[in-house]
């Protein structure tokens, strides 16, 4: 009886692993990703998008605020300026960790509050990120301050 139960659990686990494998295979399908990134390129190289991103980069170099960035780069303002943007698109501020500088804090500090108090390094700068495609694996492009 115990053997049967163990076998059933193993079978369920194998089915689950097969499902996960199929999900990854779909997410990392070359044709799918080429299409997603192609659509992204078409969107973010449109005249309205380029003009706004160019202005954002110029303003950011002088120390733009997040609010100013939102004025230039919000979905509604870009659409109002004539940019054709798919419904699933996202535009947001973003920071990258600076791996090149070798900065990486320990992953398990005593608490989130301690980490919040200690951080400040490790991030190069903030910037704008445009992304398209399904959740979990998406194409993005950006520029930072």
């Amino acid at each position: 009886m115990a053997d049967l139960e163990a076998e059933r659990r193993l079978s369920l686990k194998m089915e689950e692993l097969d499902r996960e494998r199929l999900v990854v295979k779909h997410q990392l399908d070359r044709e799918r990703l080429t299409k997603i990134t192609g659509n992204l390129i078409d969107t973010i190289t449109s005249p309205a998008f380029v003009e706004r991103m160019r202005a954002f980069r110029q303003r950011a170099a002088g120390g733009a605020s997040f609010s100013e960035a939102g004025d230039l780069m919000s979905l509604e303002n870009l659409r109002a300026a004539g940019a054709e943007i798919p419904d699933d698109f996202r535009l947001t501020s973003r920071v990258f960790e600076d791996r090149e500088a070798g900065f990486r804090v320990e992953f398990k500090p005593p608490s989130i509050d301690d980490l919040r108090a200690s951080t400040g390094g490790g991030v190069v700068a903030w910037g704008a990120c445009a992304g398209g495609g399904a959740a979990t694996v998406c194409g993005c492009a950006g520029g930072s301050t």
Binding site: T45, S93, F96, R99, W126, G142
Partner: protein, 158 residues
Amino acid sequence: MNPLSIADAFAGLAYSQADLQRQMRIHYDKILDFITSPPFVSLMEEMSYISHLDRPQFVHDVLLNDAALRERSVEVPSGILIQRSAFGDRRPTLFAVKHFLPAEFSNVWQNVNITFDNEYLDGEISRNRDVCWRAPLSPELQALAMSEGRELAELQTS
């Protein structure tokens, strides 16, 4: 409002819309060559088998660890970066595979990347301007919060 013309948008830039699109395609293809390679796909399968709470630690221990990548036969090509990041909209992102565009294009778009997130429901992450243009969390704070199952949307930077 009359839509901006391509000529007006690219006036003063040293490249055309077609040039920019070509460079983005070239660099995206480099990223896709890497992330669709069998060793990287196997790595993503390995990550998919573990709990979403444990994935931030896996990213730290494996994706950001050259030795751990080599153990899995994952060779990161020159020019490609694996980095953690955080978005203002607080989507639970794990890491990105990024390539900078040539410097002459950096006055508009600097990089292209493919971003890998923990699971989330699209409708739960706002596209509202006031949410999307908040200051992002630091990537390490975000990773820790994800590992503790915290709601990222509720976390503020200060």
